[in-house]
């Protein structure tokens, strides 16, 4: 995972606006797809939040599993790592870990700035 992310640093969670942007450079031919990707993942996070409140761990596991599979292919290995962590936490029904990971992914997406090369 990139050392820039710092998403596991607990005292940063909740202070997103004060954190600098994370700039990721992606191949130009993926521009159209990549521009849709973060928005879709934000929708997934809304679903995770609802599922977490409802104790629906299977939905969270599935979303985490998909994120793990897709993130790196789009140029965001951090998202694959977050996806794996979400999946693992959902399997053992660890609500605290899920909450922390959810906040970490949200923080990552809010700081993300993509350029194309």
């Amino acid at each position: 995972m990139s050392s820039l992310v710092g998403v596991n640093d607990a005292d940063q969670v909740g202070r997103t606006s004060a954190l600098p942007a994370l700039t990721v450079s992606i191949e130009k031919d993926l521009e159209v797809l990549v521009q849709r990707f973060p928005a879709r993942k934000r929708e997934d996070l809304d679903s995770v939040r609802i599922a977490l409140a409802a104790g629906d761990f299977e939905t969270i596991r599935r979303i985490g599993h998909d994120l793990k599979g897709a993130g790196e292919g789009f140029g965001f290995p951090e998202l694959s790592a977050f996806g794996a962590a979400l999946e693992s936490a959902a399997i053992v029904r660890n609500e605290r870990a899920l909450g922390e990971q959810l906040a970490a992914v949200e923080q990552f997406l809010s700081r993300l700035r993509v350029t194309f090369r």
Partner: protein, 238 residues
């Protein structure tokens, strides 16, 4: 190629990569959607996810291996990375297995490798000799018992397609796409007319040891009949 993947972002990415590599992609987000399509379509290669919303990728794999599309090359692309998952998929008949996240060039290389092993690759031999037929793709000529057969350009392409896929059931969609291209509008009647014409011109009939058979609502299959079977299907008592 067909991609079965329920995550839309992942499906778009895989399809994008495959299309950049020159392959035409058909996407299905459910296993049952693919199985329905396989009733009417055939593909060169299938990219299959394991975790699907309706049936598992392994169940899709088993059903395909038990169907008339049993020889379809299949590459599993899944985030499941346990050794027993990989082993199970390969033992159930997957041709290869990749763990997500996949790398673009490796994905393409693996797909092309299993397509080659399935003998459906593009780099076919320039000259194909089969029974009494000799096809020269460079001069675009076909001879039968050393005599040239007059064929139109499309009839030649259609002949090559069948002669390179003896015994394989080809869907109408696959035939249309291979011979006329992905965007051509070709009616079933036109296709049937061309098939009928090459059947006659090449003598692909049981008397000659061949059968170019129509499969109802699906497509066609060229079969070479067993040499032991009498080639003249006359009833001697009639």
């Amino acid at each position: 190629m067909a991609v079965v993947e329920d995550d839309l972002s992942q499906a778009e990415l895989l399809s994008h990569w495959l299309e950049l590599a020159g392959h035409r992609c058909h996407h299905y987000d459910r296993g049952e959607g693919l199985m329905r399509a396989l009733d009417q379509e055939s593909f060169d290669v299938l990219v299959l996810d394991w975790n699907l919303p309706d049936i598992s990728g392994v169940d899709v794999l088993k059903r395909i291996r038990a169907s008339q599309q049993a020889s379809l090359p299949i590459l599993f692309v899944t985030a499941r990375n346990r050794e027993d998952d990989v082993v199970m998929a390969l033992r159930q008949g997957a041709d290869d297995y990749m763990v997500k996240p996949v790398r673009r060039l490796e994905l393409i290389a693996r797909l092309e490798a299993i397509a080659r092993r399935g003998k459906h690759h593009n780099e076919q031999p320039e000259v194909l000799e089969l029974d009494v037929y000799r096809v020269d793709c460079q001069t675009r000529t076909v001879t039968r018992e050393q005599r040239p057969v007059e064929l139109t350009a499309k009839d030649f392409d259609l002949s090559v397609l069948f002669l390179r896929n003896v015994g394989r059931l080809l869907s109408r969609g696959h035939i249309r796409e291979s011979v006329w291209g992905p965007n051509a509008v070709v009616t079933s009647r036109t296709l049937d007319t061309h098939v009928s014409r090459i059947r006659n011109k090449l003598g692909l009939t049981p008397e000659n040891g061949w059968r170019l058979a129509a499969v109802y609502r699906y497509g066609y299959r060229l079969e070479q009949l067993d040499a032991a079977v009498p080639r003249t299907p006359r009833n001697s008592e009639s």
